[in-house]
Symmetry: C2
Subunit: 279 residues, 2 copies
DNA sequence: GTAAGTTACGAGCGACGTAAAAATG
DNA sequence: CATTTTTACGTCGCTCGTAACTTAC
């Protein structure tokens, strides 16, 4: 039987041009390499090199064999990588959510519950979460609706949108609640990485001016320094409370139905142990 | 590095279901097989089997690995066969001719000149001989025209068509020569494997009746027994002369231009040594 | 108890490296 | 004379097989 190592050696010789150079690169002795190639030639039943007394070069058969050998080695490498990827996937829990809020508690929760797993999270407001759950791209998804058909779903968290404004801001008069329609003409600071909230609320506020900021820390700095209104939710408020206190901002609940989302956490039947933590 | 043998073992286990059965089939001991699989698992970095104390079955990773392993082994087998085919091709001289006549002398000629080669011959009256010479399907071709452009051609033989009839047959009056047009209405025995002659002459004799025979010996028997006319050529006549004598048949040359063919023997530049024998 | 898999141990084959030889430019 | 390949030889390691052990049906 051909040995893979022989093929690797053979490819190295083709690449390096001489036995000596290839042996150097392969960290083996040159006599060993010479022998290996003779054995390979015997196994294939055909000479792969034109040999003169002090020169050895691929002949036509060698060139033919080279293309096959590369193919075989490529396949072996593909196999090894595929198996490594699969092994890694066994230790990776990928969570996708339509909005960031649920991940703030779900991620640490899962890290504690499955300490040996690599937790990978992703905000994906698109429609393909269920599909990617089924094809195992994701093992856990957070959406705004439950699923059935071999998918297990549980209600997870409810997220309520608030507007925060500094003390003394004109909007303070709505401190018991405000409707989105009343934000027309206002300028509001907006953190951009909010997933489905963008589509759910922000796109509808066509008469409101937004100052967008993608960097979380820069956004928080702007909130503190500018005195402009911004959004928070019941889920984000723990992060923001420090700033809320230090700047004396007040939280105004948004009263529209759209300002409240019930999230559901779903996974496949075979991964349902991931949901036990939430029951 | 993975060993191909390990993959072969692995595939055998998947096929046989148990280590014992696979070891039996592979003609190795079962402990050896058990060890090989553990080593393979180590090399791939992932367990391929679910092991209970006295049972071992492929897990999901194993099923994944199996498909890759089969692919790798297939490629190796393909490589081995390709190299064997190539090796064989180095020892095979394939000659194609548009008609059988030239092969009767060319084949023994080449066998004597290249005694280590396997000589393979083929009658091919189609237009693709030059193409198949270039792609090395054929190494030597016999056609009715010479070629140029990296192809070496030499005139080889001239073949002249004759009609043989028994003594006393009405056509004997044409013993100095006959035209094809004068064969209208005659019934003639025809050996079918005549390549280009079929198209060159036979198809044009629309008013002549043919009794076709594919088997050479049966054809010769028919010629001897029936007293019907048949065709011979200057190249075939050595085979037929015995019958000609024993049955007192006479040969009548066909006088049309079409009844004479000049053949050319051609090969590629790299194989031009094959033509040296003919110069 | 039989059949299957794993562990332990000893033997043999094979691959490797060093050293030396042969050949070319 | 330097570079390259091949041959010879001794050592080390790997794989194999036998034997013994464990476990399940």
């Amino acid at each position: 039987m051909i040995e893979l190592q022989q093929l690797v050696y053979f490819i190295a010789i083709a690449k390096c041009g001489t036995l000596s150079a290839a042996a150097e690169e392969l960290n083996i002795s040159q006599p060993s390499l010479s022998r290996s190639m003779k054995i390979l030639e015997n196994e294939l039943g055909i000479l792969l090199f034109d040999r003169t007394k002090n020169k050895i070069i691929l002949n036509d058969a060698g060139k033919l064999a080279l293309s096959y050998a590369k193919h075989v080695i490529d396949d072996v490498n593909t196999m090894e990588h595929a198996m490594q990827d699969y092994e890694r996937s066994l230790h990776t829990l990928t969570i996708a959510s339509v909005a960031p809020g649920p991940l703030w508690s779900l991620t640490p929760n899962m890290m504690k519950r499955f300490p040996k797993m690599n937790i990978s999270t992703e905000i994906n407001p698109k429609e393909d979460l269920k599909e990617k759950l089924t094809d195992n791209t994701y093992q856990l998804i957070v959406t705004i609706h439950p699923f059935d058909n071999d998918i297990v779903s549980v209600p997870y968290l409810e997220e309520q949108l608030f507007l925060t404004v500094p003390q003394g801001h004109p909007l303070c008069k709505y401190k018991d609640g405000i409707y989105m329609s009343e934000l027309a003409g206002e300028t509001i600071l907006l953190y951009t990485e909010i997933g489905y909230w963008e589509e759910r609320v922000i796109r509808k506020l066509t008469l409101t001016n937004f100052i967008r900021q993608t960097e979380r820390s820069a956004f928080q700095e702007l909130v503190r320094m500018s005195g402009l209104p911004s959004f928070v939710t019941n889920l984000s408020i723990k992060d923001e409370i420090m700033h809320t206190d230090s700047t004396n901002r007040i939280c105004i609940p948004l009263l529209d139905d759209d300002a409240k989302i019930q999230f559901y956490c779903s996974t496949t039947m075979q991964n349902r142990e991931y949901l036990n933590a939430l029951l």
